[in-house]
Symmetry: C2
Subunit: 166 residues, 2 copies
DNA sequence: TCATATTGGGCAATTATATTGCATTAAATA
DNA sequence: TATTTAATGCAATATAATTGCCCAATATGA
C-alpha cells in the first residue's frame, strides 16, 4: 500500500507563507499576534492555520529545551557503516536505535563510507563512551563507526526554507 | 566577558521533568491538558512552566512543517573542510552560512577530515547542485566538500533525553 | 516532639484568547 | 458586466490563561 497524499504539493499563497514563516520562528504566538503580523484579522488567520494543519503541512509544534542547562553538554555526530546491506539488517538496526532517547536524528544516507548518520546527545564524554560501547556497537551488523563531536552550534534550527514556494 | 548563568544546572524535580517531556513531544498542549498529564492543577502547572521559561530551560516553541508537502524533497548532509584553521576563516564562513535559509544545522566539529557539518534542505538535486556551486564552494577557505543525501529519516526529533536528570 | 517558617498547591474570580455563525467584500469566471 | 465562488471581518460565545488568596506539606530549629 502506497501512501497517496504524502507528496501532495499544496498551493501556498503569500499569506500562508507568512504564517508558516512566523510559526517556524515562534510557535507560541497567539492567533491574534499572528494575525497582526501577517495582515489579517483573527478569524481568517485561525482558519488558515487549521487548514494548514489538516493538510499536514503543519505537522506539530514542539518545545525546544536548553541542553546545557539540563546537563547535556556533549553532542556527537556518528557515521555508521553496516556489514551487509540487507533489509533485515537495516530494520533491526533502526528498531534498536529508535529506542535510544539519546538519538535525536538518525538518517539512512548515501555515500561509500557510511550508511547511517546519527546525532546523539549525552551529558559528557564518559556517557558517550558508555553509549557507544553498550548500545551502538552491540547492534548486529554495525561494522564501522566514526564519531565527531560538536564544538560549536553555528546554526541549530528546525525552519525549512520557504523561499522556493513563490 | 564570559556568560555566567549559561551552564547553571537547575534542579528539576519529577514533575518538572514530566512537564518537559510532555512539551518536547507536544508544545501546543493547553496548560489544562498539561496539568492533567503531570498530575497537577492548572495554576501550579502554569507557574512551573513560567519558571522553566525564565530559567532558560525552555528556550522556545517552534512549529514543525512537512518538507515533502512544501516541495523540499532533498536533505543533504555536507562535511566541509577548511584550508586554514584561523578564526578569520571560520568567522567568515559561519557568517555566510548563517545567511542561507537552506541550512538547518551547521556545527563546528572535531575530526581529521572535516571542520563543519551542515544539514541542508532543498527542493531537488538540481537545486542542490546550484546551492553547492553558487553558495558553499564560493566561500573563502572551503577546501573539501563531501555530500551525503538522506534516503530515509529513521528518527528526526528535537527532544533531549531527560533520563539523566534522575 | 512540637512550634514555626517556607515552599508549593488548589480554588475561584478575572482577564485574555480562541472559536463560530453570519453578513459582506473581493476575486475569479464566463 | 453579471454571476459565481471563495475568503474576509465583525460580533457573540465558549475556552483557556492568569492572578490573588488561602491552605497543606515539607523543612527547620529548638
Amino acid at each position: 500500500m502506497i501512501a497517496t497524499n504524502d507528496k501532495a504539493l499544496a498551493r501556498i499563497d503569500k499569506i500562508d507563507r507568512k504564517i508558516l514563516e512566523q510559526l517556524q520562528k515562534n510557535g507560541s504566538l497567539t492567533n491574534q499576534q499572528l494575525a497582526e503580523k501577517v495582515g489579517l484579522s483573527a478569524s481568517p488567520c485561525l482558519r488558515r492555520v487549521r487548514t494548514l494543519e489538516e493538510a499536514g503541512i503543519i505537522v506539530r509544534t514542539v518545545t525546544i529545551l536548553d541542553h546545557k542547562k539540563l546537563g547535556l553538554a556533549l553532542t556527537a555526530i556518528i557515521l555508521i557503516g553496516m556489514d551487509r546491506h540487507t533489509p533485515e539488517r537495516f530494520a533491526a538496526f533502526e528498531e534498536q536505535v529508535a529506542a535510544f532517547p539519546e538519538v535525536q536524528e538518525c538518517y539512512l544516507i548515501t555515500g561509500q563510507s557510511a550508511d547511517y548518520m546519527l546525532k546523539v546527545v549525552v551529558p559528557d564524554m564518559d556517557h558517550y563512551h558508555q553509549f557507544l560501547l553498550n548500545r551502538i556497537t552491540r547492534i548486529q551488523g554495525v561494522s564501522g563507526v566514526h564519531s565527531s563531536f560538536v564544538l560549536r552550534r553555528v546554526i541549530d534550527s528546525t525552519a525549512l526554507p520557504l523561499g522556493y514556494l513563490s
